[in-house]
Amino acid sequence: MNRFDLKASYPGFTLSATASWEVSCAALFGASGAGKSSIVEALIGLRPEVQGPVRLAGVSMDGLAPSERRLGWVPQEAALFEHLSVRDNIFFTAASEAGRRAATEAIEALEIEPLLGRSTRELSGGECSRVAIARALASEPRMLLMDEPLASIDRPLRSRVVPFLSRLAREKAVPQLIVTHDPIEVLSLAEVVFVLERGQIVQAGDPQEVFASAASFGSLSALGAENRFAVKVKGRGSGTWIVETSGGQRLSMVRVKGFPEPKEVAIRSEDVILMSSHPEGVSAQNVFSATVQSLEPIGAQVLVSLARSAAGDETWRVKVTLAAVGSLELAPGRQVVLLIKAHSVHAM
């Protein structure tokens, strides 16, 4: 049983977050500034000003020092000990045989073996994240607390790291709480998601259901969108803005009276339709070609990464079913057409 009921007041920001869950992997989802870091640091025991009971992995954390809580923390920036080698980082707290075994398993599963003798200064962001996860596991934690654990891990490796973390949670009984603003991480790892907005949990439940229902209201929809682009307004249509991304893609989006010109847009990966060829007579305002770069399975769905044909450096992400992958013959290099309704382009 896991539960927290945290309260704190800061100038211009009030934290009042309550959550409880019993599943092996939960996610705290929210935009920057929503209060995710405050909650994680309070759970670790680093924020004495945050009041309220905390119970994780069945153990009350109230009054315990950070070193007594045994929470395997993986901060977003990894925070590897820069004066120690990768090996010494991982085995920093692996005092027992079980800890060393956990570290060795993590080293193998996270493909860290070739990095062991290296200085942490030589590692890429993704390598740092993997080492930080292994280091946390070596401490035999009651629970893993991971801040955007997959953010800098490249996609091919991610498809191997996700099953490892899922296996840890379910088979090795290492419960996990992930903190993220990336819905892909939530959908990949978590069984329950808590949506955090301005210091409060506004929604909780099954990630698929939460994100599906979120499409009905703008801010959360935009918050969870995988496609985000800086834009410049190029003109006005009838009730629409015509904007252009920095990569040169023009998009039509609904213009809401009284709202300022958009500077950034967000499009959820579920709101983009893929077709094998240019359609005729469709209502969607945004139709353009792109080339498939990679495919990544996420549960029963597949996340397709595409490079727009005209500007290769702008990546679009589209979620499709496995059936669609087959019927469209999606594979790297395949050229397809993207359709997006103006309503699905959200101003940030």
Partner: protein, 225 residues
């Protein structure tokens, strides 16, 4: 000037500077840590007090030490009993004078060292189960070692060059309390410029060697390489 004379002067200077550096190392690291990490009323006052020997005329510091350690004070009397006689006008007094004058540099170096330690790494170490003592010993101290070593190296060099305070409390007795700085001064006074030059060059060599060694220790690949 005989080689044995140079060796005696250099040996005494190194002995005094090294002992002074060793003597102040732990207190300087502790005060540097407090100044860097602990927020309390009077922090600025403490920093100002610690820095005093750097801004006061060395002779004034020497006079204060002389007054403090004279047999007329309880401290001086206590020390005399403890050491079996007044330690003023001995090489031990030179160590004390050098320690006082070098202390601020060691503290400032340590403070700077602790300032640049990423707090996150200490927090993660604690979250992994490391006790505060282990976090300090294995994370904070190694990460602060750059500033600490620089501070101690400069403190050593400062102790080596100390003159004003030392001459008052330890005197300028050849073979007993005459350090490099005092030997150079004496030779200039006696118009023995060549000897003064030799000793000055020796002081330069020592200073370069110590700061160079500190740089080498900091730059050499550690356990992380």
């Amino acid at each position: 000037m005989k080689l044995s004379e140079i060796a005696s002067i250099a040996g005494l200077s190194l002995q005094v500077s090294l002992l002074a550096t060793v003597l102040i190392a732990v207190p300087a690291i502790a005060v540097g840590y407090v100044l860097s990490r602990v927020r309390f009323r009077g922090r600025t006052l403490l920093r100002t007090f610690v820095s005093l020997p750097m801004v006061l005329p060395p002779v004034a510091v020497g006079f204060l030490l002389l007054t403090l350690f004279s047999k007329n004070t309880a401290l001086g009397e206590g020390l005399a009993v403890l050491l079996g006689g007044s330690f003023l006008l001995t090489w031990k007094a030179a160590v004390i004078a050098a320690s006082v004058m070098a202390f601020p540099l060691a503290v400032l170096g340590a403070e700077r060292g602790f300032d640049v330690v990423p707090l996150r790494q200490e927090q993660v170490a604690a979250s992994l189960g490391a006790t505060p003592v282990r976090v300090f010993r294995e994370i904070t101290l190694p990460l602060a070692r750059g500033g600490i070593l620089h501070g101690l190296a400069f403190a050593f060099v400062r102790a080596l060059g100390e003159f004003g305070a030392t001459v008052l409390v330890a005197g300028n007795v050849p073979g007993r309390t005459q350090t490099l700085s005092m030997a150079i001064f004496t030779r200039i006074e006696d118009f023995r410029d060549r000897e003064a030059m030799v000793l000055s060059l020796l002081a330069i060599v020592f200073a370069l060697a110590v700061t160079g060694a500190a740089e080498w220790v900091l730059r050499r690949p550690g356990r992380s390489a």
